[in-house]
């Protein structure tokens, strides 16, 4: 086993623990008790905030140049993202959204910068 593989294996095990905690602990607690309201209300906005931040990072931030805001430079990704929003809203299908998004960005990359 190479050093890199060993490092990846450790990362996978740590990731598993990090992924397991949030899934198991509330399930364990709240299958015998009621959920506090404030907890639910706060958790409700975590996914949408995080997903938005991750999308913004890919579309509007150039990480290789030291986290610079790129504005409308990544036109291919901006247009593809608008397409994905419409497809996701209309179809509610994860597979279709991802496949059409990838197709759109591939085609748009011919004309615009990615």
């Amino acid at each position: 086993m190479t050093e890199k593989t060993m490092e990846h294996l450790i990362l996978i095990i740590l990731s598993m623990l990090v992924a397991f905690g949030p899934r198991f602990i509330p399930l364990r607690i709240f299958s015998t008790r009621d959920i506090p309201k404030w907890f639910n209300e706060w958790m409700k906005y975590v996914p949408v905030s995080l997903f938005t931040a991750l999308v913004v990072k890919d579309v509007f931030i150039d990480t290789s140049a030291g986290y610079v805001f790129t504005g409308i430079h990544n036109m291919a990704k901006i247009i593809a993202s608008l397409i994905v929003i419409v497809v996701a809203y209309r179809s509610r299908s994860m597979g279709l959204s991802v496949v059409l998004g990838l197709t759109a960005v591939t085609l748009l990359a011919i004309v615009f910068t990615v």
């Binding site: 399930l27 995080l50 998004g101």
Partner: protein, 256 residues
């Protein structure tokens, strides 16, 4: 008279639309993990142990960007934190199950099988925790298979990373759209976008993602609390949005 089907086949039919939609995403994820330096065995292992599209894509893209391990783990933790919400909301249907069952159930819980199971629990009285676990395992099987195939394909062809990387972004946009319950969610999303840009440009690292997530989710929580306390529960911002397509599509994937 309809012939009685074995239960596993009935459950498989319910899980199938979800399982099939995992194939293209699993392939893309496997290809990306391959680029990030994971071999086939590691890819299979991470698919089973972590079993989360978002988390695996994030692992791949952060590893290719050489992000330090602690940043990767903090980001993963925040990404997986949403399962706390899913877990707590489905827990009401899992009372009277053993601790061991909850443990096994939690290991393979994820966004999409949660959506199917929650809908079935809410609409079908004969739906049992064991059926729900079967749905989880079918989706896990398809996901792992697609990832392994993707990893093998990734060995054979060279791919433009900037483009395959976009699969993750498309997945997140899809999940944002699925989260939109009212106009306040859309406002929170825009607030999060502004916070994300500012905090990443200022902090020059992915820590900016963590900071903006904490700030934006708090703004959403505080705004909703304010609106509810001031009697605007049915006002412009909090009124529920009903997507046109949702009913027929959801019941197609959940009830057949």
């Amino acid at each position: 008279m309809k012939k009685e089907e074995p239960r596993w086949l009935e459950v498989l039919k319910i899980a199938l639309p979800l399982c099939l939609s995992y194939i293209p995403i699993g392939l893309a994820c496997g290809i990306l993990l391959n680029v990030a330096g994971f071999n086939v065995i590691l890819t299979g292992l991470v698919s089973i142990l972590v079993f989360s599209g978002g988390a695996q894509f994030l692992l791949a893209s952060m590893l290719t960007a050489n992000a330090p391990i602690h940043t990767v783990l903090i980001m993963l933790f925040f990404l997986e934190l949403r399962y706390a919400l899913l877990g707590s909301s489905i827990s009401q249907y899992l009372r009277n199950t053993s601790k061991k069952f909850l443990y096994i159930f939690a290991v393979s819980l994820n966004d999409e099988n949660y959506a199917v199971n929650y809908l079935k629990f809410a609409t079908d009285k004969s739906w049992t925790p064991k059926d729900a676990l079967k749905v989880e395992h079918y989706s896990l099987l398809f996901w792992t298979f697609a990832n392994i195939v993707g990893s093998l394909i990734g060995n054979l062809l060279s791919v433009d990373l900037a483009i395959v990387d976009y699969a993750l972004t498309a997945l997140f946009i899809y999940m944002i759209v699925m989260q939109v319950a009212n106009k306040l969610t859309i406002v929170v999303s825009f607030v999060a976008a502004v916070f994300a840009i500012i905090s990443m440009v200022v902090l020059k690292s992915t820590m900016g993602l963590v900071v903006s997530t904490l700030l934006a989710s708090f703004v959403g929580f505080a705004a909703e609390d304010y609106l509810v306390k001031h009697g605007k529960k049915r006002g412009f911002l909090l009124r529920k949005i009903k997507p046109k397509a949702s009913r027929s599509v959801i019941s197609k994937s959940g009830d057949n």
